[in-house]
Symmetry: C4
Subunit: 278 residues, 4 copies
């Protein structure tokens, strides 16, 4: 490939700007900062666009912004595919195809397509689903965040404790629903006529959310509900203790590791298509 | 007993498969894993079976699954009684009877019987109770879980602190109910006409569940209710601190102890019929 | 006083049985255990007695139990006054009068009097207040509980932090009420027409109780309410952290101090009329 | 300036009384204590004054108190401007003007002005805003509180962790709103017809406030709502852990630093117009 020598500088510049681990400086590259900002704007517009009153007044503005963002993200996607060639794994046409089916490349693609589909869609549910898929752009923010990886790995280390908490929560949920079903089904068949129905009340009580749309009215039902509410405190204390410790660990480790070189950081959290070759 | 020599290998194989402490490998034996899975399926079916809309559509499927599971659990119960003879305490017919009245054997039996009774029952409340008893199968999961024992023992060590928390909770509950009864009974006799009635509001407020089905309407009532809600934060802080520390201790000890042999583990958490003889 | 020599053994026996610090053995004396139990029974009856449906059915039973308990507590009060003479501070008639105006002796008296007053009272509010005063008996449990003193002293050491939490809570309460008053007063004058009215909503939101009897309906109101709900998490985190640490400290110190002699324990938590002379 | 020699003692006395760091004794100066008390009284009157029923009965009393407080705060403001000359930065007329545009001097001014404006205002919203501005007096308490600075700096050190918590909260809020919008928009267009509308439900659920004014009614909606409520526990655990640790750190540092001289304390928390020259 005799012309590759001329292309490299340009491709390499894109590669450094677009791939988190390849940026030689601290933090994010200027282009990635712009992408982040535009992703947040796109998500905000997608959220506001679902509200009919705003859509009626600002529909054209929303469409204009979405069109511009679509063009930008489509160009960014093309640049990413083009720059992926810097990575020895994604060289050539075959390599590019291999890159395009990698997890994050698919997320990028999913973030652009909905715009095209909405233009033609008509059915209410499909439209709603499409608008949601546009929110997938938020998932793209994930690829820039090492902190989230640190938290995930810390939580992962305590998966055993959290599983136990979830198990205890499951037992309490099924147990309290069953008791309420036993004593309240007669008085309120709509709300407590079966264990799955009683689960709705049970989950609202054990998490201390307490909507109050469904509450027991019999004396026994209130007694068991009171016991459930108190058990809920214990249910919350368990994962709170485990998660608080996990978060604290993760962030301390993260903080202690701020002196590391960016190379080591990349080595620790490898993502498909993110690694740069030396 | 000249034929015992031939029987032993088979009985011992069942014993190792069915009794948690007797399994020579790590974790659960394959048969116990299957039992666990089927217990979860049986419980899920029992939960869904209480919902009349699902019962009408999938009643036959549910019955079929329950019949199959009944046959399996009955066979497993028989195998357990048979294999219990491996334990010197449960040798012979007398030993087997002694085993059958042990706590976990009774739980196993209770988990099978309801199926037979539901076939004949007719009264709504009895039927509901029977369906609930089928959920007792979930209790069987308890016998496989050493982690739960670790948590229970850690909580047990702090029973003094938790008792104190419960005492404080009791005082706050009775105190706030009494105050609200004093100032709101006139305005809302149905909800605050007596201290036991006011307790329902009080427990919903102190646990921060806050259903909102009953709320004070007088100025003084709202003032005391606000103070109760703030006191509720302290009420939750106390057991949360104690329980979070207890869980953290228990799980750290559990983690530190993963290198122990299975013999030591069994010795620490003896259950009736679970110990194997060497 | 030539007859004092004969009286001492009896008076001293009462003194040892009735005064927490004077008991030579571990824990509570048998008589104090009985008093505790009867106080709990009396409080339970007083609570149940406020419910008109129970009163109509079991009114006579309640009256009988209250009469018996009144006789017992009156006798106990007399025995206490009599035995107080063992303490050099309360010798003679003057000393007994001095004892009778001490804090805990007044609590004891307040716990007996209501019974006599209820017999004659007729007005609904006065009656309710009297029934409440009977609950004062629960306050008597306080004199036996050293653990509560340990918790109170630990909380007292952190009064500065808790004061700061309360101050922050006060600012948040007034601030969020003011904002909601500003934007919701026009739409819901009954619920948000003034800052004191908005406080009711504000306290339910910041403590995450969330009754839902009053909720903002304007867009700006919902926006500020959402911010208030999130600020509420921080509000709860502050005292939870402080209190959890305080409880943990108090109970650890308490546990570490179980080897102390009862003399030292008494010296640490002196109450009027509780100290015995050596 | 030949008369400055005579003026200094008086001005210096005011300076020491009014500026927190200039007071030679421990804690607050007597004049600042009085100012604090009057600020609290003024804020309480401003709060009560918004309630029409109280205003009708005690309107004249409120006006009288506000008039007196206005006179006092106006005089205090004048004294502060006058005494600011002790600080070399605020000498002369130019220095005084420079002081008057400093942050805390503007807060002081804002706390007096509303009284004058309310006299002429007529529109309901403007009046409400003015009454709110009077609450700004509470902000003045801020300048006396070093403890609050300690907490703010401790929280500031963990701004990274808290930002991450807020980010996670944002993702969960948008995610759960989107899911509920997808499955509930058809059944309840008013409450879940768009993502911004669903956010109101989402924030009430994730913070476990749970007003219950809006709850899902479809089966899928309830399923996702239950998952959201459980995720809310994790959402709360994260900032609770971080904030509890931050508060604990801040107050321990504060406590450890009580032996410091007042000079060092001032040096650590410099505020405009608060520093005294030596």
């Amino acid at each position: 490939m005799p012309d590759e020598h001329d292309v490299i500088p340009m491709r390499r510049r894109f590669y450094r700007q677009l791939y988190a681990g390849a940026w030689p400086g601290d933090g994010m590259s200027p282009l990635n900062r712009l992408v982040c900002l535009l992703v947040i704007i796109a998500a905000t517009v997608a959220v506001l666009d679902t509200e009919i009153t705003l859509r009626n007044r600002f529909g054209d503005v929303f469409f204009g912004i979405e069109l511009l963002l679509f063009v930008f993200f489509a160009m960014e996607y093309a640049a990413r595919v083009y720059a992926a060639g810097e990575d020895p794994r994604y060289r050539g046409v075959g390599g590019r195809l291999k890159y395009m089916v990698s997890f994050w490349a698919l997320v990028d693609l999913l973030a652009i397509i909905p715009f095209l589909v909405t233009l033609g869609a008509n059915d209410a549910f499909v439209l709603r689903l499409m608008r949601l898929l546009r929110l997938m752009r938020l998932a793209r923010l994930g690829r820039f965040s090492e902190a989230i990886d640190a938290v995930i790995s810390a939580v992962g280390e305590r998966r055993y404790e959290l599983l136990l908490s979830l198990l205890a929560a499951g037992f309490l949920l099924v147990g309290s629903s069953s008791l309420l079903y036993l004593v309240e089904a007669g008085a309120q068949p709509d709300a407590f006529g079966s264990i799955p129905r009683a689960l709705w009340w049970s989950i609202a009580t054990l998490t201390t959310v307490g909507y109050g749309d469904v509450t027991p009215i019999t004396v026994l039902g209130k007694l068991f509900a009171g016991m459930t509410a108190i058990a809920g405190i214990g249910l919350i204390a368990m994962p709170t203790g485990v998660l608080a410790a996990a978060f604290s660990d993760a962030l301390q480790r993260k903080r202690a590791g701020t002196g590391r070189s960016s190379d080591e950081t990349t080595a620790e959290t490898p993502m498909p298509g993110e690694r740069h070759h030396d």
